[in-house]
Symmetry: C2
Subunit: 137 residues, 2 copies
Protein backbone atom coordinates (compact mmCIF):
# COMPACT_ATOMS: atom_id res chain seq x y z
CA UNK A 1 0.00 0.00 0.00
CA UNK A 2 1.07 3.60 -0.59
CA UNK A 3 1.87 6.11 2.11
CA UNK A 4 -1.58 7.66 2.03
CA UNK A 5 -3.31 4.43 2.89
CA UNK A 6 -0.72 3.61 5.54
CA UNK A 7 -1.34 7.05 7.01
CA UNK A 8 -5.07 6.61 7.07
CA UNK A 9 -4.91 3.14 8.54
CA UNK A 10 -2.32 3.96 11.18
CA UNK A 11 -3.55 7.41 12.13
CA UNK A 12 -0.09 8.86 11.49
CA UNK A 13 0.04 11.59 8.83
CA UNK A 14 2.03 10.92 5.67
CA UNK A 15 4.17 13.88 6.62
CA UNK A 16 5.08 12.29 9.92
CA UNK A 17 5.66 8.87 8.41
CA UNK A 18 8.32 10.39 6.17
CA UNK A 19 9.75 12.21 9.15
CA UNK A 20 9.91 9.06 11.26
CA UNK A 21 11.71 7.37 8.40
CA UNK A 22 14.12 10.27 8.08
CA UNK A 23 15.12 10.17 11.74
CA UNK A 24 15.37 6.41 11.67
CA UNK A 25 12.47 5.70 14.01
CA UNK A 26 11.08 3.34 11.42
CA UNK A 27 13.06 1.62 8.71
CA UNK A 28 13.18 3.07 5.22
CA UNK A 29 10.20 1.80 3.30
CA UNK A 30 10.68 -0.30 0.20
CA UNK A 31 10.08 1.65 -2.96
CA UNK A 32 8.04 0.63 -5.97
CA UNK A 33 9.27 1.14 -9.53
CA UNK A 34 7.74 4.59 -9.51
CA UNK A 35 9.67 5.61 -6.42
CA UNK A 36 6.60 5.47 -4.20
CA UNK A 37 7.05 4.13 -0.70
CA UNK A 38 5.35 0.78 -0.22
CA UNK A 39 4.01 -0.44 3.12
CA UNK A 40 2.92 -3.76 4.57
CA UNK A 41 0.45 -4.59 7.27
CA UNK A 42 3.37 -4.90 9.66
CA UNK A 43 4.42 -1.32 9.01
CA UNK A 44 0.93 -0.12 9.85
CA UNK A 45 1.16 -1.93 13.19
CA UNK A 46 4.45 -0.30 13.92
CA UNK A 47 3.07 3.12 13.08
CA UNK A 48 0.08 2.53 15.31
CA UNK A 49 2.45 1.62 18.10
CA UNK A 50 4.25 4.92 17.62
CA UNK A 51 1.02 6.86 17.48
CA UNK A 52 -0.25 5.35 20.71
CA UNK A 53 3.03 6.00 22.46
CA UNK A 54 3.03 9.61 21.26
CA UNK A 55 -0.50 10.00 22.55
CA UNK A 56 0.77 8.94 25.94
CA UNK A 57 3.37 11.69 25.70
CA UNK A 58 6.44 9.54 25.17
CA UNK A 59 9.20 11.40 23.36
CA UNK A 60 10.69 10.10 20.15
CA UNK A 61 13.78 9.04 22.10
CA UNK A 62 11.71 6.94 24.47
CA UNK A 63 9.65 5.50 21.66
CA UNK A 64 12.84 4.38 20.01
CA UNK A 65 13.63 2.34 23.11
CA UNK A 66 10.10 1.04 23.36
CA UNK A 67 10.14 -0.09 19.74
CA UNK A 68 13.36 -1.93 20.34
CA UNK A 69 11.86 -3.69 23.34
CA UNK A 70 8.67 -4.35 21.43
CA UNK A 71 10.47 -6.31 18.77
CA UNK A 72 12.59 -8.14 21.32
CA UNK A 73 10.57 -11.13 22.37
CA UNK A 74 12.92 -11.88 25.20
CA UNK A 75 12.85 -8.41 26.75
CA UNK A 76 12.26 -8.32 30.46
CA UNK A 77 9.09 -6.53 31.46
CA UNK A 78 11.12 -4.57 33.98
CA UNK A 79 12.93 -2.85 31.12
CA UNK A 80 9.67 -1.59 29.73
CA UNK A 81 8.36 -0.68 33.12
CA UNK A 82 11.46 1.32 33.86
CA UNK A 83 10.97 3.50 30.79
CA UNK A 84 7.34 4.01 31.67
CA UNK A 85 8.17 5.01 35.22
CA UNK A 86 10.86 7.42 34.10
CA UNK A 87 8.34 9.01 31.79
CA UNK A 88 5.73 9.17 34.50
CA UNK A 89 8.29 10.86 36.73
CA UNK A 90 9.05 13.44 34.09
CA UNK A 91 5.37 14.12 33.61
CA UNK A 92 5.00 14.48 37.32
CA UNK A 93 7.78 17.02 37.50
CA UNK A 94 6.09 19.02 34.76
CA UNK A 95 2.77 18.78 36.57
CA UNK A 96 4.24 20.04 39.79
CA UNK A 97 5.94 22.92 38.10
CA UNK A 98 2.82 23.97 36.27
CA UNK A 99 0.74 23.57 39.39
CA UNK A 100 3.05 25.87 41.31
CA UNK A 101 2.81 28.45 38.55
CA UNK A 102 -0.95 28.21 38.37
CA UNK A 103 -1.27 28.59 42.12
CA UNK A 104 1.03 31.60 42.18
CA UNK A 105 -1.09 33.25 39.54
CA UNK A 106 -4.36 32.36 41.19
CA UNK A 107 -3.05 33.73 44.45
CA UNK A 108 -2.16 37.02 42.84
CA UNK A 109 -5.47 37.10 41.01
CA UNK A 110 -7.31 36.58 44.24
CA UNK A 111 -5.62 39.65 45.70
CA UNK A 112 -6.65 41.70 42.68
CA UNK A 113 -9.99 43.42 42.96
CA UNK A 114 -10.66 43.05 39.29
CA UNK A 115 -12.63 46.22 39.03
CA UNK A 116 -12.34 49.55 37.21
CA UNK A 117 -9.63 50.89 39.48
CA UNK A 118 -6.03 50.72 38.35
CA UNK A 119 -4.52 49.27 41.52
CA UNK A 120 -3.43 45.75 40.73
CA UNK A 121 -1.25 43.45 42.84
CA UNK A 122 -0.51 41.32 39.80
CA UNK A 123 1.17 44.17 37.97
CA UNK A 124 2.87 45.26 41.15
CA UNK A 125 4.32 41.82 41.64
CA UNK A 126 5.65 41.71 38.12
CA UNK A 127 7.08 45.18 38.63
CA UNK A 128 9.02 43.94 41.60
CA UNK A 129 7.12 46.22 43.95
CA UNK A 130 5.04 43.51 45.39
CA UNK A 131 5.53 42.01 48.80
CA UNK A 132 2.81 39.58 47.99
CA UNK A 133 4.46 36.79 46.20
CA UNK A 134 7.65 37.97 44.64
CA UNK A 135 8.69 34.59 43.38
CA UNK A 136 11.47 36.05 41.30
CA UNK A 137 13.84 36.67 44.15
Amino acid sequence: MNIGEAAERSGVSAKMIRYYEEIGLIGAARRGENGYRSYQEQDVHRLRFVRRARKLGFSIVRIRELLRLWSDRRRASQDVKKIALVHAGALNADIEKLTALRDSILHLAKLCHGDQRPECPIIEDLSGEGNYMDSSR
Copy 2:
Protein backbone atom coordinates in the same frame (compact mmCIF):
# COMPACT_ATOMS: atom_id res chain seq x y z
CA MET B 1 24.97 50.99 30.21
CA ASN B 2 25.80 48.33 27.64
CA ILE B 3 23.79 45.20 27.00
CA GLY B 4 25.99 43.06 29.23
CA GLU B 5 25.31 45.13 32.28
CA ALA B 6 21.62 45.40 31.46
CA ALA B 7 21.56 41.62 31.14
CA GLU B 8 23.26 41.09 34.46
CA ARG B 9 21.10 43.58 36.28
CA SER B 10 17.83 42.39 34.80
CA GLY B 11 18.53 38.68 34.82
CA VAL B 12 17.68 38.47 31.11
CA SER B 13 20.49 37.18 28.89
CA ALA B 14 21.96 39.53 26.29
CA LYS B 15 20.85 37.05 23.69
CA MET B 16 17.26 37.32 24.81
CA ILE B 17 17.36 41.09 25.12
CA ARG B 18 18.29 41.29 21.46
CA TYR B 19 15.55 38.80 20.67
CA TYR B 20 12.92 40.77 22.59
CA GLU B 21 13.98 43.84 20.70
CA GLU B 22 13.76 41.99 17.39
CA ILE B 23 10.21 40.81 18.00
CA GLY B 24 9.19 44.23 19.27
CA LEU B 25 8.51 43.22 22.85
CA ILE B 26 10.76 46.03 23.98
CA GLY B 27 11.61 49.11 21.97
CA ALA B 28 14.81 49.27 19.96
CA ALA B 29 17.58 50.47 22.23
CA ARG B 30 19.37 53.70 21.47
CA ARG B 31 22.78 53.12 19.98
CA GLY B 32 26.05 54.76 20.95
CA GLU B 33 28.51 56.07 18.38
CA ASN B 34 30.14 52.67 18.28
CA GLY B 35 26.88 50.94 17.45
CA TYR B 36 26.52 49.43 20.91
CA ARG B 37 23.04 49.32 22.41
CA SER B 38 22.64 51.67 25.33
CA TYR B 39 20.23 51.05 28.21
CA GLN B 40 18.73 53.13 30.99
CA GLU B 41 17.51 52.17 34.41
CA GLN B 42 13.99 52.15 33.03
CA ASP B 43 14.91 49.51 30.47
CA VAL B 44 16.26 47.29 33.20
CA HIS B 45 12.94 47.59 35.02
CA ARG B 46 11.09 46.62 31.90
CA LEU B 47 13.34 43.63 31.37
CA ARG B 48 12.84 42.52 34.95
CA PHE B 49 9.12 42.73 34.41
CA VAL B 50 9.43 40.49 31.40
CA ARG B 51 11.65 38.04 33.25
CA ARG B 52 9.22 37.74 36.14
CA ALA B 53 6.30 37.24 33.80
CA ARG B 54 8.22 34.57 31.88
CA LYS B 55 9.00 32.83 35.14
CA LEU B 56 5.29 32.67 35.80
CA GLY B 57 4.89 30.98 32.46
CA PHE B 58 3.23 33.83 30.59
CA SER B 59 3.83 33.60 26.85
CA ILE B 60 5.40 36.43 24.92
CA VAL B 61 2.00 37.30 23.52
CA ARG B 62 0.52 37.68 26.99
CA ILE B 63 3.51 39.60 28.21
CA ARG B 64 3.00 42.02 25.38
CA GLU B 65 -0.47 42.74 26.75
CA LEU B 66 0.77 42.94 30.30
CA LEU B 67 3.46 45.42 29.33
CA ARG B 68 0.87 47.57 27.64
CA LEU B 69 -1.29 47.51 30.75
CA TRP B 70 1.74 48.11 32.93
CA SER B 71 2.51 51.37 31.23
CA ASP B 72 -1.12 52.42 31.20
CA ARG B 73 -1.73 54.15 34.49
CA ARG B 74 -5.45 54.19 33.92
CA ARG B 75 -5.84 50.50 33.19
CA ALA B 76 -8.57 48.74 35.09
CA SER B 77 -7.34 45.99 37.35
CA GLN B 78 -9.95 43.71 35.82
CA ASP B 79 -8.08 43.84 32.52
CA VAL B 80 -4.96 42.51 34.19
CA LYS B 81 -6.87 39.99 36.20
CA LYS B 82 -8.54 38.68 33.09
CA ILE B 83 -5.22 37.93 31.43
CA ALA B 84 -3.99 36.23 34.57
CA LEU B 85 -7.09 34.08 34.81
CA VAL B 86 -6.91 33.10 31.17
CA HIS B 87 -3.33 32.05 31.72
CA ALA B 88 -4.22 30.12 34.86
CA GLY B 89 -6.93 28.37 32.89
CA ALA B 90 -4.48 27.39 30.18
CA LEU B 91 -2.06 26.08 32.78
CA ASN B 92 -4.86 24.13 34.33
CA ALA B 93 -5.77 22.54 31.04
CA ASP B 94 -2.15 21.49 30.58
CA ILE B 95 -2.03 20.13 34.10
CA GLU B 96 -5.14 18.06 33.57
CA LYS B 97 -3.87 16.66 30.33
CA LEU B 98 -0.52 15.72 31.80
CA THR B 99 -2.14 14.26 34.86
CA ALA B 100 -4.33 12.05 32.71
CA LEU B 101 -1.28 10.87 30.79
CA ARG B 102 0.69 10.22 33.93
CA ASP B 103 -2.15 8.26 35.46
CA SER B 104 -2.61 6.18 32.32
CA ILE B 105 1.04 5.29 32.39
CA LEU B 106 1.10 4.58 36.09
CA HIS B 107 -1.91 2.38 35.68
CA LEU B 108 -0.23 0.36 32.98
CA ALA B 109 2.97 0.22 34.99
CA LYS B 110 1.08 -1.11 37.95
CA LEU B 111 -0.21 -3.96 35.84
CA CYS B 112 3.29 -4.78 34.68
CA HIS B 113 5.15 -7.26 36.84
CA GLY B 114 8.46 -5.59 36.15
CA ASP B 115 10.45 -8.77 36.36
CA GLN B 116 12.59 -10.86 34.04
CA ARG B 117 9.68 -12.27 32.11
CA PRO B 118 8.76 -10.74 28.77
CA GLU B 119 5.00 -10.41 29.35
CA CYS B 120 4.26 -6.73 29.61
CA PRO B 121 0.86 -5.03 29.56
CA ILE B 122 2.49 -1.73 28.67
CA ILE B 123 3.84 -3.06 25.42
CA GLU B 124 0.61 -4.89 24.78
CA ASP B 125 -1.35 -1.71 25.18
CA LEU B 126 0.87 0.16 22.79
CA SER B 127 0.57 -2.74 20.36
CA GLY B 128 -3.18 -2.38 20.40
CA GLU B 129 -3.60 -5.83 21.91
CA GLY B 130 -4.45 -4.57 25.31
CA ASN B 131 -7.88 -4.54 26.83
CA TYR B 132 -6.40 -2.75 29.77
CA MET B 133 -6.42 0.87 28.85
CA ASP B 134 -6.46 1.23 25.15
CA SER B 135 -6.74 4.97 25.17
CA SER B 136 -5.97 5.21 21.50
CA ARG B 137 -9.36 4.11 20.32
